[in-house]
C-alpha cells in the first residue's frame, strides 16, 4: 500500500465557511474543512448535526446561503448535481427498483452514451470489485441489505468520480456485516484510489477507517484531525466524551512548571469533584487560574484491590458495578467523596492480573500525569 503522507497530493475538496439554514433553524454554521486527495475522510457527529446536509450541498442537492466549495481549486457551487465530479451513496441506497443490479450499475454509463462492449466490460469489473458476482440479475428487492449497499457503491464508483460521498452506508446493517463491509470498503478505497468522504455517527467506525475525521455537533465543526489526534487530544468537552468513553471533570489550573525529564509542562489542577489536585502534562505552559476540563480515558487508569497509595493521582473507593465482557472488564468505581469514575481493565494473561476484583471490593485507582489530558475549553461558574 502506498504511503498517504500529510499533504502528499494536495487538497481535493475545500469547504469554506459554509452556512445553511432551514427557516429559522441553522443546520450548518460556518463550516470549513479541507480534504486531501485520495484520503478517506470522515464526517462524524450525532444524529441531526447536519452531516447529510453538508453532503447534499457538496453533491448539489442543496444550496448554501454563504461560503464556497472547490474541487481541485475550482468552485463547484454553480454546477448542477449532474455536472459535479462526485457521486453519492445515499443513506437509503436509492437503487432504481425497476432495474436489476447490473442495470443499476450500467445506468450512468448508458447516460454517457458509451458503447455496449465498453459498458459490459466496466460493469463486470465493478460487479467483481464489490463481489456481487452471481447476483447481477437480481432486482434490488431480491437483494440483501449488504448486497444493496454494494450495488449502490458500485453504481457510484462506475462513474469514476474524483470524490465519492458516502452517507452512513452501513447504518442499516447488523454489527457483524458492518464490520465485514467496513473492511471491504477500506479495500475498495485502496484499490480505486479516490477521495472518500464518509458520513457516520459511529465513532468506532470513523476511528478505524479514516485518514482524517471532522467532528460535528449542532452544525459546527468542533475538531478536524487524524483519529489519533481526535482521540488523544480532543479540543472540546463534546469531542472528548463523544469519541470513545472518558472521565471528564471541570478543573482550575493551580500551577505549571516545566519538567526537563518529560520535556513537557507539568500542570497541577484543582478538581472539585475529586476534592483534590491532579497532575497532568501538556506541551504548552498554561496560565494559572484558567478553568478548563481534565479528562482521563478509562483504559489508562490502573485499578488494584485494597487500599494502596500508587504514587501520583491516586484515589480509593468501592467497586459499584463491574461489567465483564470477556477480554476486558469495566468498573464503575465510587470514590470516597462519592464521585464515580470509569475504569477499564484488559484481561491479557490469565491469573497474571492479580486477584479478581468484584462488586463492593475496596479498590485503589491511579493514573500517570502523562496519560491525563487538559481540554482547552473554558467553563464558567454558572453552567
Amino acid at each position: 500500500m502506498e504511503y498517504k503522507g500529510e499533504g502528499a497530493k494536495g487538497v481535493a475538496v475545500e469547504i469554506r465557511n459554509i452556512t445553511k439554514s432551514f427557516g429559522d433553524f441553522r443546520a450548518l454554521d460556518d463550516v470549513s474543512i479541507s480534504i486531501e486527495k485520495d484520503e478517506f475522510f470522515s464526517l462524524l457527529g450525532p444524529s441531526g448535526c447536519g452531516k447529510t446536509t453538508l453532503l447534499r450541498i457538496i453533491a448539489g442537492f442543496e444550496t448554501p446561503e454563504s461560503g464556497d466549495i472547490t474541487f481541485d481549486g475550482n468552485s463547484i457551487l454553480h454546477l448542477p448535481p449532474e455536472k459535479r465530479e462526485c457521486n453519492m451513496v445515499f443513506q437509503n441506497y436509492a437503487l432504481f427498483p425497476h432495474l436489476s443490479a447490473r442495470e443499476n450499475i450500467a445506468f450512468p454509463l448508458k447516460l454517457r452514451k458509451m458503447n455496449k462492449d465498453e459498458i459490459r466490460r466496466k460493469v463486470d469489473h465493478y460487479i467483481h470489485l464489490v463481489e456481487l458476482d452471481g447476483h447481477e440479475d437480481k432486482r434490488p428487492a431480491q437483494l440483501s441489505g449488504g448486497q444493496r449497499q454494494r450495488v449502490a457503491i458500485a453504481r457510484a464508483l462506475v462513474c469514476e468520480p474524483s470524490v465519492l460521498l458516502l452517507d452512513e452506508p452501513l447504518s442499516a446493517l447488523d454489527a457483524k456485516l458492518r464490520q465485514n463491509l467496513l473492511v471491504e470498503l477500506d479495500e475498495i478505497h485502496d484499490k480505486v484510489g479516490i477521495t472518500f468522504i464518509y458520513v457516520t455517527h459511529d465513532q468506532s467506525e470513523a476511528l478505524s477507517i479514516s485518514d482524517h475525521i471532522a467532528v460535528f455537533n449542532e452544525g459546527k465543526v468542533l475538531q478536524t484531525g487524524s483519529p489519533y489526534e481526535i482521540y488523544e487530544s480532543p479540543s472540546t468537552r463534546f469531542v472528548a466524551s463523544f469519541i470513545g468513553d472518558t472521565n471528564i471533570f471541570p478543573c482550575i489550573v493551580e500551577n505549571s512548571v516545566y519538567d526537563n525529564n518529560l520535556e513537557e509542562w507539568l500542570i497541577t489542577v484543582q478538581i472539585d469533584e475529586l476534592g483534590s489536585t491532579v497532575t497532568v502534562t501538556d506541551y504548552d505552559d498554561i496560565e494559572i487560574g484558567r478553568r478548563l476540563y481534565f479528562t482521563i480515558r478509562p483504559e489508562k487508569i490502573r485499578i488494584v484491590g485494597g487500599e494502596r497509595k500508587l504514587g501520583e493521582n491516586s484515589f480509593s473507593g468501592f467497586v459499584d458495578e463491574p461489567v465483564y465482557s470477556g477480554y476486558q472488564s469495566k468498573f464503575f468505581v465510587k470514590l470516597d467523596n462519592c464521585t464515580f469514575i470509569k475504569v477499564l481493565k484488559g484481561h491479557t494473561t490469565y491469573l497474571d492480573d492479580g486477584p479478581e476484583i468484584e462488586w463492593k471490593d475496596r479498590v485503589s485507582v491511579s493514573w500517570r500525569a502523562v496519560d491525563g489530558y487538559l481540554v482547552k475549553e473554558e467553563w464558567s461558574e454558572k453552567r
Binding site: E82, F96, H98
Partner: protein, 288 residues
C-alpha cells in the same frame, strides 16, 4: 406444501365468491343479453323478435353511423389525452405540496354536486348569452358573442372537466408513493432534471398512469349526458345513438349492436395499450 397450496386455492375461491356472484349477476348476464339481442330482429314497438338476424350490424355500416363511431373514438382520445397531460403536473405538485389534504379535498368537492347540475353550470358559462360572452362583450374585447357551446369544443371541454379528477387521483397516489430520493440519485449519476423524471419516475408510476387512463378513457367513450346537453348536431356520440334507438326509434337490436361495438372497441383499445406498455418495459430491459 402441495396440500397447503390446495387449501389456499379453496380459500381463494371462497373469498372471491361474493364478488363472483356480483359480477355474474350484474355484468356477465346483462352483457350476454345485450350480445344475444344484437343478433335478433327488432320488435314492432320495441323489444325483440326471437329470430336470428344480422340486420342490426348491417344497419351500423350506414355511413352516418360509422361517422358517429369514428367521432366517438377521436373525441375520447383527445379528451383522455388532455386529461392525462393536465393531471400529471397537477398530481406531481400535489404530491410534493405540504397541503395535500387541502388539494384532495378541493378535488373531491365537485362530487358532492350532481353531475347534471355541473353540466348546466357550464351551459350558463358558455352559451351565447352566458357569463363568459357577456363579460367579454362588456369589456369591449369582442363585439359578437363567440360560439362556444353545442359544438365539439364544448363537448371536449366539459368531458375533460368531468373526468379530470379520475385521472388525477390514481396518478397522485402513484406519485405520492414514489421515492423522490431516486430522482436525486438519477441526477447524481448524470441525468438532467427532466431526464431523471422520464427515466426513473415514469417507470415507477406506470400502473398509476394506466389506472388514470382506464378511469378516464372508458367512461368518456360511453359518455351520454355531456354530448346530449352541451353538444350539437356535429358532436353526437355513440352513447346518444344508443339512447335514441332504445327510446325513440325503439330498435333494441340496433342499440344492442352499438353497445357491443362500444364494448369491443374500448376493450381492444385498453388491451392494446396495456400490451404496448408491457412490451415497452421489456424493450427497456433488453436495452439495458
Amino acid at each position: 406444501m402441495k396440500r397447503d397450496k390446495k387449501r389456499i386455492n379453496v380459500r381463494a375461491y371462497l373469498y372471491s365468491l361474493p364478488m363472483g356472484i356480483w359480477v355474474t349477476l350484474f355484468f356477465a348476464i346483462p352483457i350476454a343479453i345485450i350480445l344475444i339481442y344484437s343478433f335478433l330482429e327488432k320488435g314492432l314497438y320495441g323489444g325483440v323478435e326471437w329470430r336470428a338476424s344480422l340486420a342490426a350490424y348491417k344497419a351500423i355500416l350506414n355511413p352516418n353511423f360509422l361517422i358517429v363511431i369514428w367521432r366517438t373514438v377521436y373525441i375520447s382520445v383527445i379528451a383522455t389525452a388532455i386529461c392525462l397531460l393536465l393531471s400529471f403536473p397537477a398530481s406531481y405538485a400535489m404530491a410534493r405540496s405540504r397541503h395535500q389534504t387541502l388539494f384532495l379535498f378541493l378535488i373531491i368537492i365537485p362530487f358532492w354536486t350532481n353531475s347534471l347540475i355541473r353540466v348546466y353550470a357550464w351551459i350558463n358559462l358558455l352559451s351565447t348569452e352566458g357569463l363568459i360572452n357577456n363579460v367579454l362583450i362588456k369589456l369591449g374585447i369582442i363585439s359578437e358573442p363567440i360560439p362556444m357551446i353545442y359544438n365539439l369544443f364544448s363537448v371536449i371541454l366539459v368531458l375533460v372537466y368531468m373526468y379530470l379528477p379520475f385521472a388525477i387521483l390514481p396518478l397522485f397516489t402513484a406519485i405520492d408513493r414514489f421515492d423522490f430520493s431516486l430522482l436525486d440519485a438519477a441526477r447524481d449519476l448524470g441525468c438532467g432534471r427532466l431526464r431523471a423524471i422520464i427515466l426513473v419516475m415514469f417507470p415507477a408510476i406506470r400502473s398509476g398512469f394506466f389506472n388514470a387512463l382506464i378511469f378516464t378513457l372508458i367512461p368518456i367513450f360511453g359518455a351520454y349526458t355531456v354530448p346530449l346537453l352541451v353538444g350539437g348536431m356535429g358532436s353526437t356520440m355513440v352513447g346518444n345513438i344508443i339512447v335514441d334507438q332504445v327510446q325513440k326509434t325503439r330498435n333494441w337490436p340496433l342499440a344492442s349492436a352499438f353497445s357491443v361495438i362500444l364494448t369491443l372497441i374500448s376493450m381492444i383499445g385498453v388491451m392494446a395499450m396495456l400490451g404496448s406498455g408491457k412490451k415497452k418495459e421489456e424493450m427497456n430491459e433488453k436495452l439495458l
